[in-house]
């Protein structure tokens, strides 16, 4: 029976790369469901396929085999343009290296996803201001990237990922480039977003401290789920 609040349904997802003559099985048949409001960690050593899985869940890539249902819609066979649409409206990304545009203000960085949807300039500013306030950057909106600390930059990245009210937030080693104190602050933000706004959050990490705040953990090795907690 299909559960209606399954945000994500993965059915036997496989990803195979051709590197020259050889085939690399990055993912060898992953099946998993994630409900709305879940806070999940995907863990595993390097080469386990966790980045590949995140890319597929985040609609940056398509599986070679298998089906991926996002909010009940099958997205595994969609073309590039439709995937872009989905990334714009439903998914937010936070990266280890922040990935903000240089020489650009926090406000403009946050507005970036709105540029690619039909939002008026006034709405764009309002939504960006709101987003930045949620991550605790009120007053710093017009500072440029190089004027912000690492922790603040990551907050901007989070604000950007939220600005379009996505259903899903994906974070790849979000505290990897931060010191432990700042890292904890960032993790608090994720916790707050999940508990107060019911946003589904998937963290990819190898740091067990990061994984502590999550409800569930999946362990990957050699492209397969080997353990669940």
């Amino acid at each position: 029976m299909e559960s209606n609040n399954n945000l994500i349904r993965l059915e036997n997802i496989k990803k195979i790369y051709k590197v020259g003559e050889t085939q690399v099985n990055a993912l060898g048949g992953v099946s998993y469901n994630i409900k709305e409001g879940d806070l999940v960690a995907i863990m595993g050593p390097s080469g386990s396929g966790k980045s590949t899985l995140m890319n597929i869940i985040g609609c940056l890539d398509r599986p070679t085999e298998g089906k991926y249902f996002l909010e009940g819609e099958e997205v595994s066979t969609l073309d590039k343009n439709k995937l872009a649409r989905i990334r714009n409206k439903k998914i937010g990304f936070v990266f280890q290296t922040f990935n903000l545009l240089a020489r650009t203000t926090a406000l403009e960085n946050t507005e970036l996803p709105l540029l690619y949807s039909s939002t008026s300039k006034k709405e764009m500013m309002e939504m960006a201001y709101e987003s930045l306030a949620i991550v605790g950057l009120k007053g710093r909106e017009l500072h440029k990237t190089n004027q912000l600390s690492g922790g603040e930059q990551q907050r901007v990245a989070i604000a950007r990922s939220l600005v379009n009210n996505p259903s899903l937030l994906l974070a790849d080693e979000p505290t990897g480039n931060l010191d432990s104190k700042t890292g904890k602050e960032i993790m608090e933000i994720f916790k707050k977003l999940n508990s107060e706004k019911n946003i589904t959050i998937i963290l990819v990490t190898h740091d067990s401290e990061v994984a502590q705040i999550t409800h569930r953990r999946i362990y990957l090795k050699d492209g397969q789920i080997i353990k669940e907690e």
Binding site: N99, L115, Y116
Partner: protein
């Protein structure tokens, strides 16, 4: 994403890196500036010549010795001796479409007055020279038929010669020495001004052709005949009549080649205009090559720019930019860059033309047509040379792009 927003994104991007944008556009700026400046110099020169020809009148004809096929367009009938004064008289008597004639010879000579010395052109002409050439006398009088027949040693000075030899004093009645022969000054020609930096028409002395033949050159032939037709409409008729008369005079068998050449002023004017046009095209063409180089420069820098911004492209794609959005952004950046470069180039070209006409004294004419063409051309360069880098950018894989160091 709509066009206006894309333009704004492109502009912001360009301004974020002002130095690089400026250097990229430099090729276009210089290229367009060069095109505008060189074409305007060429156009200015052309118009100057047209004005001169217009001032001379369209009923002016020249007869020169030597057939057309030998000589090309320009003068120097010095090596041919088959035109003689009786030819000129025959033309005047027998051609009713001809109004005035002036046989002419010319040379250069040293002219002395007191302790002043000047080397200038000496034109030997008939008494009708001022009427044919539409050249008025500013001071004194021109010589008449009798003085020509008698071969009197009288001279009319061009305004430049007058300046140099007499420096404001009254030259009328004074004696000057041309090639050591004394001549009496009887008049001064009005100043016609320099034209386009080539020869100065006021730097000459006019004397009767008979005097020039006998006293200065020791010849009995003449070098050319200036003729004015009765009217502009009858100019072609005049040409035909002259040719007929001369063929008889020179005993040329029917079907044989003429040993003389009658040119129509407007033919010469057209010829000059044509060669000017060729020059303009040539200069413009060379300048266009530099514009092309500018376009290649834009393409190169855009490619470098794309490589430098691979991460940025990845970020944009991850938040939902489609291939089309990236393509349009980079393409528009190239177009905006080249159009802005074009505008700056136009300003540069116009400024340079003005500067050149002030400093070198050459007339320049900036045609609106060339400005419009330059503007559109720079836009097209942006589209053509910006497309490939923009296309490359749009085809990047977001995952690879995000991982790029």
């Amino acid at each position: 994403m709509n066009i206006l927003r894309t333009i704004r994104v492109a502009l912001k991007s360009l301004f974020r890196n002002k130095m690089r944008s400026l250097l990229t556009a430099l090729g276009i700026i210089i290229g367009v500036g060069a095109v505008i400046a060189t074409v305007s110099i060429g156009q200015g020169a052309k118009r100057e010549i047209e004005k001169r020809f217009d001032a001379m009148g369209t009923n002016l004809l020249f007869v020169r010795p030597g057939s057309r096929s030998f000589r090309g367009r320009h003068g120097g009938g010095g090596t041919y001796v088959n035109l003689i004064p009786s030819d000129a008289k025959a033309i005047l008597e027998k051609c009713d479409a001809v109004q005035y004639i002036s046989p002419s010879v010319n040379t250069r000579a040293q002219v002395v007055y007191g302790n002043k010395n000047w080397n200038t052109s000496i034109y030997g002409v008939s008494d009708k020279y001022p009427e044919i050439r539409k050249w008025a006398i500013e001071d004194g009088i021109f010589f008449d038929e009798n003085q020509v027949r008698a071969g009197q040693k009288v001279a009319v000075l061009g305004s430049e010669v007058n300046e140099n030899l007499f420096e404001g004093a009254d030259p009328i009645g004074q004696i000057i020495r041309i090639k050591k022969i004394p001549f009496r000054v009887i008049g001064v020609l009005e100043s016609k001004g320099e034209s386009g930096g080539w020869f100065n028409r006021d730097d000459q002395i006019v004397i009767p052709y008979t005097t020039a033949q006998r006293r200065l050159l020791g010849i009995i032939h003449i070098q050319s005949i200036d003729i004015s037709a009765v009217s502009m409409e009858r100019t072609t008729e005049a040409v035909e009549q002259i040719e007929e008369v001369l063929r008889i005079q020179h005993k040329i068998a029917p079907g044989a080649e003429d040993d003389f050449n009658v040119s129509n002023m407007s033919e010469i004017a057209e010829g000059a205009a044509e060669s000017r046009d060729v020059l303009i095209f040539l200069l413009g063409g060379i300048a266009c090559v530099s514009l092309l180089v500018g376009g290649i420069g834009i393409m190169n820098i855009m490619l470098v720019s794309v490589t430098e911004r691979i991460r940025e492209i990845g970020i944009r794609m991850s938040v939902g930019a489609r291939e089309k959005d990236i393509l349009y952004q980079f393409l528009l950046e190239a177009i905006v860059l080249s159009v802005l470069g074009g505008v700056l180039g136009i300003l540069l070209g116009v400024g340079a033309s003005r500067l050149i006409s002030i400093i070198a004294g050459w007339q320049t004419l900036v045609s609106n047509f060339s400005v419009v063409v330059a503007f559109f051309f720079s836009g097209i360069i942006g589209v053509v040379f910006g497309f490939f880098p923009a296309f490359k950018a749009s085809k990047l894989d977001p995952i690879d792009a995000l991982r790029y160091e």
